[in-house]
């Protein structure tokens, strides 16, 4: 591919060569011993305190695969029920629970977590990092996921599961379903979404800041591009659902009428918020799965990917366009034609980047010499299925066609083609391809082929007929149907196909879990791939990579001579752990220049305890045990504070560390070069998105209701909100001043400033609450009052958290853990306050300003 002899502007001084000679064997052995000591997983019961990606990733994958099987069993139960007309295998009630839990489990407990699981496991390997920057955060995400998932799945055993469909439309899920089911869904999944956002933060910061030296932005593996896009999408897609769940749960628990038309609410708002999440979610599932394909194809085509830039276009373009599709789930609610047209346009436009990447894959296969293999089999099968799903997708993107197909089995057929072809098959390809990285052994070729053909044939026999069943008029989500409507044979065929598909999945499952102790380990780089994850030894060592290489190519294993030898002999960076601490390299965003030697935390039960206490709040809240729930939340705040206090921004014993090859890096870094700053910034982007979703609610009501805001406005008036705005802006100004005074080491100014900021924050919050309080807005009476109260409370909670952060910095400095030169804590708190100020300003302008101009 490289037809030029030499890049005219390449500057050789950038390139760092490995040590010319290997360190003495004695030293190599000592280094390996120290690395092993530092990175080995805890043993016995303490195994569950592990936080390293090799352990957490494995648990994550295992548990999400378990939920996949659970969801699959529910699907089989539904198929048995639908096998023949007038069947009574499942009651209507049970059937409703089955399809609700099936959809919810597959989306929330399999598809999203398995993406995070695979990314947490593989990305450090692909980036030659020892681990991602926040191992404990990843562990926290896992434990939250496990707890929330068991809670939700367990509910179906007690006949208490949600039964309103995976999209939970009110009023079905508000006034018509008084049971606990919807609460389990709303709170359980909000909890899991918080965990998903935590993982997204980890993955984005990992991709941007933890690449190996020299891996410039034009050299990163495509998987990492896709992961970055999908994780960024999580930041903007999940918060609207968290906001929506908050509204619906507050309506169910406290009677605030957000979705109740008799008191000014509107159930359509839920649909907007849900699909604002729900549609991008499909692409959050699809992109990381197709990313596996982008890694597998070049390996078996024996050639670099064709159209790297085009695939980046596809990933980023899909990420954006997928946010302009949500209304195509709502074509039939009676929106004006122009709205349908706009969303139809975006829905068809998104087919362009998707098609582009497929042509790149095909071109790569044509350019290379393809070797057949089990992973390629799953890839090809998945691509074939996905193309069909994409084409029916273009059909349903057209509003007139969708009017006919809406809520029929056609749609069920369509989206299973998309999700199973676009996600499940590629993931199974990934299982066969990456299995040696996880366990050191290959899966069976023979079983893999058998499983593939069973699954491929079974899949098509199940879902192809559904298009026809739907066209003949069979609606979704009905538990049975009378005979002789033309559905009988098609449904029976689908059921038979479903069992064949399940058999295929069972073979895969057996292949994964069957004992392999007697089989030899795979040879190193068994597929002869070109990307960095394959430098791993078989079986992998807990340290991930022996020394962190300098990268010069997109396919370093193919292009960089002696790479394996140099890594193994410790000729690159960080070949040792002299201080007995876990470390990795933090690099710059664009060119991956080394910036910091980042110390990583070791095993700890803190993530588990933090997940239990946080989960306690959501689970106890489900049962409306509010005092216990609040106690659990307080405990969670305590645990997380302890976590931050002991585990973050520690003061290193020296300023710099020599990481080898003549490079010394600082150990303590603050501001935008640090991973902590990025994590705070990215988290707050998600937070502000949730807030803007609530603001969207306000303006949505305004656009659909003539009495919103009521005229004359009953509250909250102008004086109190604007006073609050002024006071809280003062708190922000003082926070910035305090950061500066800390840098200047002016202790008195620092303490006085923090005190002043705290006083202003408290006074401002009181003033903000005084507005609706003094004007006696009753949130149960009308949606206007409820919306104003919600915006006010949201803002006050944020100010309160900011206040806790002030307090934390205060104690931190008194304890000598934050100093003038090491002020990462107050730096990150300032980032938090920027976003809080934005929240305050918008809240004040909306609740006090908008009624004046409306």
């Amino acid at each position: 591919m490289k037809d030029e002899p030499k890049d005219p502007s390449a500057d050789a001084q950038d390139d760092v060569e490995p040590l010319g000679e290997a360190p003495p064997l004695e030293l190599q052995r000592a280094q390996a011993e120290r690395l092993m000591q530092v990175w080995k997983a805890p043993e016995g019961w303490r195994y569950f305190s592990a936080v390293n990606n090799t352990e957490v990733g494995l648990w994550y994958m295992a548990v999400s695969f378990f939920f996949f099987l659970f969801g699959g069993v529910l699907a089989l139960l539904m198929r048995i029920q639908l096998a023949r007309p007038d069947n009574d295998f499942l009651s209507a009630e049970r059937y409703n629970q089955a399809f609700t839990v099936h959809g919810s489990v597959m989306m929330f407990l399999f598809a999203i977590p398995v993406f995070e699981a695979v990314a947490v496991t593989l990305m450090p390997q692909m980036l030659g990092a020892r681990d991602l920057p926040f191992p404990r955060l990843a562990a926290f995400g896992f434990w939250c996921f496990l707890l929330g998932g068991l809670f939700l799945c367990g509910s179906i055993l007690f006949d208490a599961a949600p039964r309103g469909g995976w999209f939970m439309y009110p009023p079905l899920t508000s006034s018509y379903q008084q049971g606990i089911g919807p609460d389990i869904w709303l709170l359980g999944f909000s909890f899991i979404e918080v965990a998903a956002i935590a993982s997204a933060v980890e993955l984005i910061v990992g991709a941007l800041k933890c690449r190996p030296p020299g891996m410039r932005i034009n050299l990163i593996p495509l998987y990492v591009w896709y992961t970055m896009v999908a994780a960024a999408m999580i930041l903007f897609a999940f918060p609207p659902l968290i906001a929506g769940s908050l509204l619906l749960e507050v309506e169910r628990a406290f009677g605030w009428p957000f979705f109740d038309p008799s008191r000014g609410g509107d159930p359509i708002l839920w649909q907007h918020l849900f699909w604002l999440f729900g549609h991008p979610e499909v692409y959050v599932i699809f992109l990381p799965s197709i990313a596996l394909v982008a890694m597998i194809i070049p390996t078996f085509a024996r050639t670099p990917i064709v159209g790297y830039g085009f695939i980046v276009l596809a990933a980023v373009g899909t990420g954006f366009l997928s946010f302009g599709l949500w209304v195509h789930h709502m074509y039939t609610i009676g929106l004006p034609g122009i709205s349908l047209g706009l969303f139809s346009a975006a829905s068809t436009a998104v087919a362009i980047p998707t098609g582009v990447q497929f042509f790149c894959f095909v071109a790569t296969l044509l350019a290379g010499r393809v070797m057949t293999s089990v992973p390629m089999l799953w890839v090809m099968g998945g691509m074939a299925i996905f193309v069909l799903g994409g084409l029916t997708g273009v059909m349903v993107a057209l509003a007139p066609f969708d009017f006919q197909a809406h809520d029929s089995f056609f749609v069920v057929g369509h989206f299973h083609y998309v999700l199973i072809g676009g996600a499940v098959f590629p993931i199974l390809a990934g299982v066969y391809y990456f299995y040696p990285i996880v366990s050191g052994r290959k899966l069976s070729d023979r079983l893999g082929k058998v499983a593939f053909w069973l699954a491929f044939v079974g899949f098509n026999v199940t879902f192809l007929p559904m298009h026809l069943t739907g066209m003949r008029g069979m609606p979704r989500r009905i538990f049975t149907y009378p005979k002789d409507l033309g559905f009988d044979t098609l449904n029976l065929t689908s059921t038979i196909g479903a069992f064949v598909l399940a058999l295929g999945v069972a073979v895969v499952t057996w292949d994964i879990v069957r004992p392999k102790k007697k089989e030899p380990y795979a040879e190193r780089n068994p597929w002869n791939a070109g990307t960095l994850e394959w430098v791993q030894e078989m079986p992998g060592k807990p340290w991930g990579i022996r020394s962190i290489p300098e990268i010069d190519s997109r396919y370093p294993v193919w292009d960089q001579p002696h790479l394996l030898r140099d890594i193994d002999e410790g000729r690159f960076y960080l070949p040792d752990a002299e201080e007995g601490l876990r470390e990795t390299i933090v690099t710059s965003v664009i060119d991956a220049k080394p910036e910091q030697c980042q110390r990583l935390p070791g095993p700890s039960y803190i993530p588990l305890v933090a997940a239990l206490t946080t989960g306690g709040f959501f689970i106890l809240g489900t049962f409306h045990l509010w005092s216990l729930a609040i106690a659990s939340l307080a405990a969670a705040v305590g645990v997380i504070s302890y976590w931050l206090w002991t585990g973050t921004a520690g003061h290193p014993e020296k300023e710099e560390k020599n990481i080898g090859l003549g490079l010394s890096l600082p150990i303590y870094v603050s501001g935008p070069a640090s991973v902590g700053w990025w994590a705070m910034f990215i988290t707050m982007l998600a937070d502000v998105t949730a807030f803007l979703s609530l603001v969207f609610g306000y303006f949505f009501y305004w656009s659909v209701r003539p009495d919103f805001p009521p005229d004359p406005s009953p509250g909250p008036g102008v004086f109190w909100p604007f006073l609050a705005g002024g006071l809280l802006t003062g708190a922000w100004v003082l926070t910035l001043a305090v950061r500066r005074w800390n840098e200047k080491n002016w202790a008195l100014g620092f303490y006085l400033g923090l005190f002043g900021a705290a006083v202003l924050a408290i006074a401002g919050s009181a003033a903000l609450l005084a507005g609706p309080w003094l004007t006696r807005l009753d949130p149960r009476s009308h949606v206007y009052a409820a919306t104003v109260w919600l915006l006010v409370i949201w803002t006050v909670v944020h100010v309160a958290v900011g206040l806790i952060m002030h307090l934390y910095c205060l104690v931190r400095r008194i304890a000598g853990r934050m100093t003038a030169r090491r002020g990462i804590d107050i730096g990150n708190v300032a980032v938090y306050w920027h976003f809080t100020l934005l929240t305050v300003v918008i809240t004040v302008l909306v609740i006090a300003g908008f009624p004046l101009v409306a």
Partner: protein, 128 residues
């Protein structure tokens, strides 16, 4: 080329590749919001789209000009010092070209998506 561009990392911007899709998003939301508010608050169901169509036309012109400008900047980077694809050398120059190329491609996609959206306003004239 008058002056050689500064290829240092400090001058490189990752977000430039997202600039054109962001313009698409703004165009999309403004068009949707304008039409929705026009139909809900002013014209009423079944009323004429008149003003909203003109507004969407204006948004479209502005959006396409912005995308064209960013796409041009991407093109200039992509062709910097005459190198060809696939921009996979380990050098600041190829990183510069790659970011330009990605910017150019995303500008193309964004332009098509903006035109698609604008077509809705070409064919639909009322709030029905």
């Amino acid at each position: 080329m008058a002056t050689a561009p500064d290829l240092s990392e400090k001058r490189a911007r990752l977000w430039i590749i997202a600039a054109s899709p962001t313009i698409w998003a703004a165009h999309f939301l403004l068009s949707y919001g304008t039409a929705a508010i026009w139909c809900a608050k002013i014209a009423g169901a079944g009323g004429s789209l008149s003003f909203a169509r003109v507004a969407i036309l204006v948004y479209t012109i502005i959006a396409l000009s912005g995308i064209a400008w960013i796409g041009w900047r991407g093109y200039v980077r992509h062709t910097f010092a005459g190198s060809t694809l696939p921009h996979d050398f380990d050098s600041p120059a190829d990183r510069h070209r790659f970011l330009g190329f990605a910017t150019l491609l995303l500008s193309g996609l964004s332009a098509v998506a903006v035109l698609y959206a604008a077509l809705a306003a070409v064919f639909i004239g009322s709030c029905r």
